[in-house]
Subunit: 345 residues, 2 copies
């Protein structure tokens, strides 16, 4: 990640911290229904990708990040950002930003842009993040999830906020409308890893002047998912991001903060699978985290049907489970797990 932009010196010490932990905003849009019951005619093509890039860039200024790379495949645009990623497809927008970004500042501009260019409104939202390593360094709204919820409640009706895991330890926060309005199969797997293996992190250190393709290949990231169109990016002096585009509106995104003091790697995909244990094993082997939080969100149309059955804990010979929780929503279910590597493993 772009370490230059928001290095923070602790008082009285030379330590710096970079918060790899992302804030993740997934928005689903649909046509607007008028008071008389008619659908407000969508502007054609009815596709979020018609929003001009300069409008997107302006929205990102409010979030305190910028576009550093772009790729596209089928009906999906993918941007690597100075702090993480942005994916735009016809009716779904995913913005993921780390560091000290102010992601929720994107909401009002995005709602306005979707109406202006597509006659679309937001029909569902999933806003989530892991607990920060250093919440005290975040901008004020993001120091406590309760404040983020208050802000979201000021924009949306009937939002529901949850904490999975330990509120006095490692946990994962979620805010959603759970509106049952998403009819296509949808599933999101996230693995948020900390205390990573030094040797593995070395792939992402001293990246100045190196080609991202080499890092993608040498680190094993290239082999994680088949048929994936990868747009990788290396940061100066260290750090790595990639967006991968799959067929059928699929994506993968990986972000690496390699510094030993605050190492962090996130993996996220909406790849459709009947079960995820083989992918999870490949990720654990590739990154060898000391701790990880894993979430799988699936709706009733998803190929795996239930998140719980699709997330087998094949790694319990090397990791101890701290927590596992299974939550049922209207049209989604969610499995959350938190694991710590055994000292001998």
């Amino acid at each position: 990640m772009d370490q230059g932009s928001d290095k923070v010196n602790n008082e009285g010490s030379k330590l710096t911290h970079y918060e790899g932990t992302e804030k993740l905003l997934e928005l689903w849009f649909d046509t607007i229904t008028l008071e008389n019951g008619e659908v407000k005619k969508p502007k054609l093509p009815d596709d979020l990708r018609v929003i001009p890039r300069d409008e997107i860039a302006e929205m990102l200024v409010k979030v305190k990040c910028e576009i550093v790379s772009f790729s596209e495949r089928d009906e999906q645009y993918a941007y690597v950002l100075s702090e993480s990623s942005l994916f735009i497809s016809k009716r779904r927008l995913i913005l993921k930003t780390c560091g000290m970004t102010t992601i929720l500042a994107s909401l009002e501009p995005l709602i306005t842009l979707a109406e202006k260019y597509c006659n679309f409104k937001v029909v569902d939202i999933f806003y989530s993040r892991k607990n920060f390593m250093r919440p005290d360094l975040q901008h004020s709204l993001y120091k406590s999830f309760e404040d983020e919820v208050k802000y979201l409640d000021s924009i949306f009706d009937r939002g529901a906020a949850y904490v999975l895991g330990r509120m006095n330890g490692d946990c994962w926060y979620l805010y959603t409308l759970d509106n049952s309005s998403i009819e296509q199969p949808d599933q999101t797997l996230e693995i948020l890893m900390t205390e990573l293996d030094d040797e593995i992190m070395a792939h992402f250190q001293n990246t100045k002047g190196r080609k991202s393709e080499a890092v993608t290949k040498d680190s094993g990231i290239a082999d994680l998912l088949p048929d994936c169109m990868i747009d990788g990016f290396v940061f100066d002096p260290c750090g790595y991001s990639m967006n991968g585009l799959l067929q059928n509106d699929g994506y993968v995104t990986i972000h690496v903060t390699p510094e030993k003091e605050f190492s962090y790697v996130s993996f996220e995909t909406n790849a459709s699978m009947e079960e995820y244990s083989s992918l999870v094993e490949r990720i654990l082997t590739t990154f060898r985290p000391g701790k990880f939080v894993m979430t799988l969100f699936t709706n009733e149309q998803a190929a795996c049907r239930s998140s719980r059955g699709a997330l087998k804990e094949t790694f319990l010979d090397r990791y101890t489970r701290q927590d596992r929780q299974y939550s049922e929503f209207k049209n989604y279910d969610l499995t959350f797990g938190h694991y710590i590597r055994d000292k001998k493993a």
Copy 2:
């Protein structure tokens, strides 16, 4: 409940509020292991019930409540309190208090008393409560669960805190050590009900001078569990509490705050059953809540094995599920559900 003791006038209005929602503290004790690995000899009989009643009463003063009735059966003592209940058996103590009580003020006295009279130490704790209707009226520590967690973390190592349900709506908080130290079968079912039926609440109104036995019988409470030794208590001018003692260290406790503006009924039992749907149905019929939160906590030794299978949602023809969550701990699992009665039901 004893409405006289802590009626609170809102500023500028004549409304009063009584917080029926209880704080629930369950403590498990065991012998103390010395540094050389030997067990510190328990004082005989090694039983929490040897703690003198005047010491218990003094501890309750700190919590801001007092004993109003006592019963015993087999190896269990049960006290009805001015604000809810206290159960003491050989190595387990359950304190449940409502209103504006300061339940955590009991912790240090109880730790001291258990060591003084029994050479016991705390080996596990379950502290839980539903969100309050009016947290602003609570004493400062109890206005936010985060503060309660900070206080508990100052006393216990490795405590884990959770929020089940919606942190911006109806939810249930839990703090536990989950120490895997409890080897006897253990299960706790709680049903916390609000917006209760007026006709049913009439049984618990105008109770001055009425006999508790009549209220227990007329309300249907007498028929909820077989072979239950009931100690009921009616409050002036309204409200009802009961402790029921079952065989084998079993208990039931019910507390009713009947006022329409803030009606609340809690049901709790550790009765061992393979599954709970018939009991849950009897409770819903007896109290007819508009909303309820239900939790079942079971350890691996419990007759029902898993809380999830033991809590069937047989009532979904009358109630809509808002949330259901299933959590796995080291030796326990927990199922949480939140339901709202359908308007037509």
